[in-house]
Symmetry: C2
Subunit: 533 residues, 2 copies
Amino acid sequence: MTAGSQGPRPLILGLLLCALGPALTQGGKLLVVPIDGSHWLSLVRIVQQLQHKGHDIVVLAPDASMYIKEGAFYTLKRYPVPFRREDLEVAFINLGRSVFENDPFLQRMVKIYKKIKDDSALLFSACSHLLHNKELMSSLAEGSFDAVLTDPFLPCGPIVAQYLAVPAVFFLNGLPCSLDFQGTQCPNPPSYVPRPLSFNSDRMTFLQRVKNILIALSESFLCNVVYSQYAPLASEVLQKDVTLQDLMSYASIWLLRSDFVNNYPRPIMPNTVFIGGINCASKKPLSQEFEAYVNASGEHGIVVFSLGSMVSEIPEQKAMEIADALGKIPQTVLWRYTGTPPPNLAKNTKLVKWLPQNDLLGHPKTRAFITHSGSHGVYEGICNGVPMVMMPLFGDQMDNAKRMETRGAGVTLDILEMSSEDLENALKTVISDKSYKENIMRLSSLHKDRPVEPLDLAVFWVEFVMRHKGAPHLRPAAHDLTWYQYYSLDVIGFLLAVVLTVIFITFKGCAFAFRKCFGKKERVKKSHKSKAH
Amino acid sequence: MTAGSQGPRPLILGLLLCALGPALTQGGKLLVVPIDGSHWLSLVRIVQQLQHKGHDIVVLAPDASMYIKEGAFYTLKRYPVPFRREDLEVAFINLGRSVFENDPFLQRMVKIYKKIKDDSALLFSACSHLLHNKELMSSLAEGSFDAVLTDPFLPCGPIVAQYLAVPAVFFLNGLPCSLDFQGTQCPNPPSYVPRPLSFNSDRMTFLQRVKNILIALSESFLCNVVYSQYAPLASEVLQKDVTLQDLMSYASIWLLRSDFVNNYPRPIMPNTVFIGGINCASKKPLSQEFEAYVNASGEHGIVVFSLGSMVSEIPEQKAMEIADALGKIPQTVLWRYTGTPPPNLAKNTKLVKWLPQNDLLGHPKTRAFITHSGSHGVYEGICNGVPMVMMPLFGDQMDNAKRMETRGAGVTLDILEMSSEDLENALKTVISDKSYKENIMRLSSLHKDRPVEPLDLAVFWVEFVMRHKGAPHLRPAAHDLTWYQYYSLDVIGFLLAVVLTVIFITFKGCAFAFRKCFGKKERVKKSHKSKAH
């Protein structure tokens, strides 16, 4: 048997699922509370599919949005927020720029902290404005929705769902500070489940495990800066005491954009559904422009280069270093770059303002993918079996890169520290060393060999929650325990008390019996002696 | 939207999966090492489906087998064992009979212990004879199998798989003493995951949690009687030190005949696939005999009654009590019973030597199911939405009954203690109290609303393991940790030592500084004083 010999089967199945769907489903009403940015771009595919299946969909978004626009397959309800679209764009661009500021460590940390705090406050103000918009909230309450589909990265959607008393489906890549583990009540042993930002794999040395536990211990403090305001807001809106964990525990189903080809195997809970690679589904033929680039590349093929939606400009010095390296490989490089073209740009390097990343990666002539290793990009690399040169910039990108490197499917570079030669060598390595291609192809064949396509699985579970008004049979009883009950500390305490009491009584009993027996004898002896005297 | 409105979809999908399968799969070679009894009856459906998909299948069985016979869709390889088929049948019948022996508790426990020990020794001898059968083992080694599909309830199959160095798929309902949790490295918090034989639900009182932990603590001792001999046997055959946990950890994929409609939600691992209800798949129209019974039952319909394959005879007194109760309900009762007919058998009760349980339960005229609540029966009750009167006899049946009772889908009776009225009342309750029908129908609609049919899912994952030579990407790194590393005890110890050292040094430092400062002053003062004197 050959690995991956069943390649086309899930795709055909997926199509059949879609084709069968509409005829068998009655239309429901779904409220979508997305988060702006790349998160929305994969969520929108599910929304589209659900509309095709006959559901009536309302998408809720601030009037200052970057990616969330009017769409043919949903009704967009906008709400006013105290900032403009431009403010959001500046915040995003500044985040991208901050990567290249080469400040000393402490200064850098303070800057990052301040930036996260400011951006969080901006996004929190949008949430607060939504929840205090009485007119909109009552019109939603009258909407009789069957479910809320939301990205809980910022827990505004979960508050809306609880306010409407409607079951929720969470759609996400993962949450910082193990909030997703808390929300699902999923065990998370720090001995082999690497913590985000630890750069650990699932196989750790002793010191790496020490680091992992220290990060685990500090997680709840670290996340306060982003999340501390949501529980008071929820408590006010819902008129009851609500914690952040209550908000995160509200989901009936968690759709995780992840799988165990990319992530390390770890415990999971029954209401977690893995839909990693959902963004690879929609493939289109290349436009004439890109088809021409690829055809002109000859036997050496092409390299696709993009640092994601947040970074399309790079400081000139760095851009020149990169351009220098790209000029030294025989492949044609398609580089998504909106800044001033570096003066040393070689002939083989084409700058484009946008590129059809997934379609280009799917072309057989693509030899390598230079990426910031965002979760979408990494999955597109895996789906299409393209070895990667990774330059992680922030957030989960370092961990994504670490995982691909551990699996021998790519090389990681520090974009600040790397030299032109480092990039050139990394590219030549992943292209000429066959092991990289073999490893990514193995990952690709494992990833694509699945009984149901991720998009169909996501649609199925959203509809399941709509049909059954939630999924209470998948909710573990752990949600109803206190932390000391969960860890059985009260039972252990009780059993220890029983054991100690038994030991104590036995000891006292023995001592008493000993005194009774030998004490008497001694007294008898003594009295005997005294009589003898 | 209506719950369950998509009822027929998974079935259609399942059929499509099957129809598509053969054309897309290259045939592989599969070795099946089953366990005799009802376990085999659901495993054989997977075997049949795999053969339809073009795989070459060899089934390995002792020449003294009860259920495992020659089949058109596999090659049966028999091996000699030191007992006859009759010995096995007697052991099974005696197990059934032992249920009705009304001995005092302690005497009963000693008898059960002795019975389990004797039966285990019998089955172990079969395993030992297989593994020491050099000719057969070398012919298997030459068979170049792609995978071994086995029931690990007795870990003979896992030893064969390791001996052949071929990946294994485990097929089971569950293992005693949390061996399945150990084998998958799955967390198993005793605070909300009820232990087998505890009769606890997932929501426990303090005292139930105490009982649960005490059972958890004693599990490893309890299972010694069945499993202690397998590790030495494996070590001898594999010529390396092997523990029972090593054997149980060998599986690439665990196919669990369970789901979260029947079982309580709890942590799971990525290589566990839930195929509960796999035995409901094959439905046939009723034979003329049974069709006639059902048609003659009129508006009151029928009740299906079976205590499973192990118990088809009951002591006369008990049989008469049961017959008395059955005579008092208006339904026609179809009772699988091979013993002497009770003299008081009413006209509405038909005794049959065998009945097509799943097909009868699927008939719309079926009003209730009297069952010993074995895992197969409970799933047939759920699939077909029939309320149950449960008389658990041994093993996991008590826990199965408890779960259905907790969910309001049935009533449990103690077959030894119950009176005729108890049975009559229980039957009348589950038939006339609409909540039982509503609850089992709700469970049924949840159970059947799934993206892929359990049989297709099982076949998919066996083929996955054959295609990819295992599923190492789903194997958690926890397998490579010692128990103290898994619980991070070494890291916690180290961190405590660091903290204590820091406290100690700080304290000593302060004390030293204190002495330096105030000690001097004091000395100065003293010397000053002495000078003053």
